[in-house]
């Protein structure tokens, strides 16, 4: 029915002062771009994470310290045990168009990096946003793919002082963008959705909702009014499927209560 496995951490890499990449001693199973895993720290808790890299011998996850759980997760050491189940989700990033644009805010690049690296032939542009210069991740990996990278920061400490979506309209014109991939804070994604809807460009968004089961049973990640499940039907959705939805306006917390975005 489902696979649950406990594996060892085989290495840890510091990406930024608040972001670490963990290497797991687990052969990557067949995985689609944008799927996610549930990671369990024995005796502590379990949360959803994207895969930021995989090969025959190991797979990687990249974690930002955002609260108690992620803090413990990113501080695991080589040899520590971690439980993993997945990959989950039937909504993937699907390679479309010749001139794709990636719009990433914060850790948003994490679930998209494999797509970018796996489709190197394309003329991709990446708008990579971060709060500050120190918080920029994967810039080198992006450059290596040959993509055109546009860095923006909230405080202007690197690249342009702007939010990622503010560059999008210009890039679309300049680079004849024919598809958009987007992941980041929901407020930013909402702005990107507006732009691509207006310009009628096919786009995909990776969503976050509070996840408990991860397998489409508990209902905590449901989207109004379609009842689509982020864990099962997503986490990646085409723009049309989320256009007239709660997306960008509210989401449910762990008790099932709606909270404004």
């Amino acid at each position: 029915m489902d696979t649950f496995e406990t594996v060892k951490i085989s290495g840890v890499r510091k990406e930024t002062p608040t972001v670490n990449t963990l290497v797991l001693d687990k052969r990557s199973c067949r995985m689609e771009y944008g799927q996610f895993y549930m990671l369990w720290i024995p005796g502590v808790g379990e949360k959803p994470y994207a895969c930021s890299g995989a090969n025959e011998k190991s797979m990687e996850i990249t974690v930002k310290h955002a609260g108690p759980f992620s803090g413990k997760l990113q501080n695991l050491k080589k040899g520590d045990l971690i439980g993993i189940r997945g990959p989950y989700g039937k909504g993937y990033f699907t390679p479309k168009g010749k001139n794709p644009c990636y719009v990433a805010g914060g850790l948003g690049i994490v679930p998209m990096i494999s797509l970018l690296e796996g489709t190197k032939g394309k003329k991709a542009t990446v708008i990579l946003g971060a709060k500050t210069k120190e918080e920029i991740i994967f810039a080198d990996r992006i450059k290596k793919t040959g993509a055109d990278i546009r860095i923006v920061t909230d405080d202007g400490s690197a690249g342009i002082k702007a939010f990622p979506h503010q560059l999008l309209s210009g890039v679309i014109k300049e680079k004849k963008i024919d598809s958009v991939y987007c992941c980041g804070p929901e407020a930013m994604m909402r702005e990107v959705l507006k732009i691509v809807s207006e310009k009628k460009i096919p786009a995909q968004f990776s969503l976050e909702r509070y996840m408990k089961c991860g397998i489409g049973l508990c209902g905590s990640c449901a989207l109004d009014p379609s009842g689509l499940l982020v864990c099962k039907d997503g986490p990646v959705f085409d723009a049309e499927r989320i256009k007239d939805s709660e997306f960008g306006s509210y989401k449910r917390d762990s008790a099932g209560s709606k909270t404004r975005i």
Binding site: F4, T6, G45, C218, A222, A255
Partner: protein, 324 residues
């Protein structure tokens, strides 16, 4: 000649009717298009997902159990897969009574099938209070989940393990609400017949059986930790079907009110088995995970084929027929 032609046409009509199997169900006067029910706790947080499952073919849908106050439920992990089943300890998360009632109203509007409002309390009085509030949203049924641990009993046992407590819950709820009442029983008792009898005598209109079995535990051998944050969780899925079938069989012998049978049903054969044991409708929970939300239509199609093979016209030809 004319009469011959007439006979011929009649024959065709009869043959046609003979092939048609009627899957409609009726419980306490409420009509279901088919006997499949989405049970409590499965995709029941949002009205939108209940409406989706109704559209996918369920004959009725049940909300996540609603309680008197906001609760986060247990910390993750709340589920872990085991051999032919699932352990869960979601822990009755609830956004609070006001928001729950609003969501329930939406569900009653949005789903075009009967909506069952599951609820719980920590005391007998709370059961009454919550029943009154959710009844205002006009669900087809309210369903008292007496299979969860309560605080009145110092050992943390569910109301559903005591005939007396179960009957008291029913009596109070029937005082506070005129919506038909389903009582959901736990299989984790030495004698489920007596509990069923008690809730019938106290005025329940219908029984749902069973809630999850056990509880069970899954321990990861490398880290030596139980995986669920709550350590133990209720067992559901195919692993528990024989137990659920026996419970429904026993309850059917004891009471006259209709039973919604559930526990591990994932095919038309399983549904037929549960109906034969005495259920008037069947819940399909964990199989939504293994077969997707198409499971309701698929189970109905499979059930229809079995009924044809058996020569059944309607569910009446199945319900309780294993008793004799």
């Amino acid at each position: 000649m004319m009469s011959c032609l007439f006979c011929y046409l009649l024959l065709i009509v009869i043959l046609f009717i003979d092939k048609m199997v009627d899957l409609s169900a009726s419980l306490s006067g409420v009509k279901f298009g088919n006997p499949t029910v989405l049970p409590a706790g499965i995709l029941g947080v949002a009205a939108s997902s209940l409406a989706r499952i109704a559209s996918a073919g369920a004959g009725a849908v049940t909300t996540k159990s609603v309680g008197p106050e906001r609760r986060e439920g247990h910390k993750n992990p709340v589920v872990v897969a085991v051999d032919n089943g699932l352990l869960n300890a979601v822990g009755l998360s609830c956004p609070g009574l006001d928001e729950s009632v609003e969501e329930l109203k939406k569900a009653v509007r949005a789903a075009h099938v009967p909506v069952i409002a599951s609820f719980y309390g920590r005391t007998v009085e709370e059961f009454g209070l919550v029943a009154e509030r959710i009844s205002a949203a006009k669900p087809a049924f309210i369903e008292a989940n007496i299979s969860c641990p309560n605080i009145e009993d110092e050992y943390g046992k569910p109301f559903g393990t005591s005939c007396e407590l179960a009957a008291r819950v029913v009596a109070v709820v029937k005082d506070m609400s005129r919506v038909p009442l389903i009582v959901k029983l736990t299989p984790n008792v030495s004698d489920i017949k007596n509990i069923a009898l008690s809730v019938e005598e106290a005025g329940a209109d219908c029984i749902a059986a069973v809630n999850t079995v056990g509880p069970g535990m899954y321990i990861d051998v490398l880290s030596a930790k139980p995986v669920l944050s709550n350590r133990a969780g209720g067992l559901s899925g195919p692993a528990i079907r024989p137990i659920a079938v026996r419970c429904v069989y026993d309850i059917y012998e004891a009471v006259d009110i209709p039973i919604i049978g559930m526990g591990g049903i994932s095919s038309g054969r399983d549904a037929a088995e549960m109906l034969l044991a005495g259920a008037s409708a069947v819940g399909i929970g964990t199989a939504v995970w293994t077969r997707g939300d198409g499971v309701f239509k698929e189970v109905c199609a499979e059930l229809g084929k079995i009924m044809e093979e058996r020569g059944d016209r309607s569910l009446k030809d199945l319900i309780g027929k294993a008793h004799c």
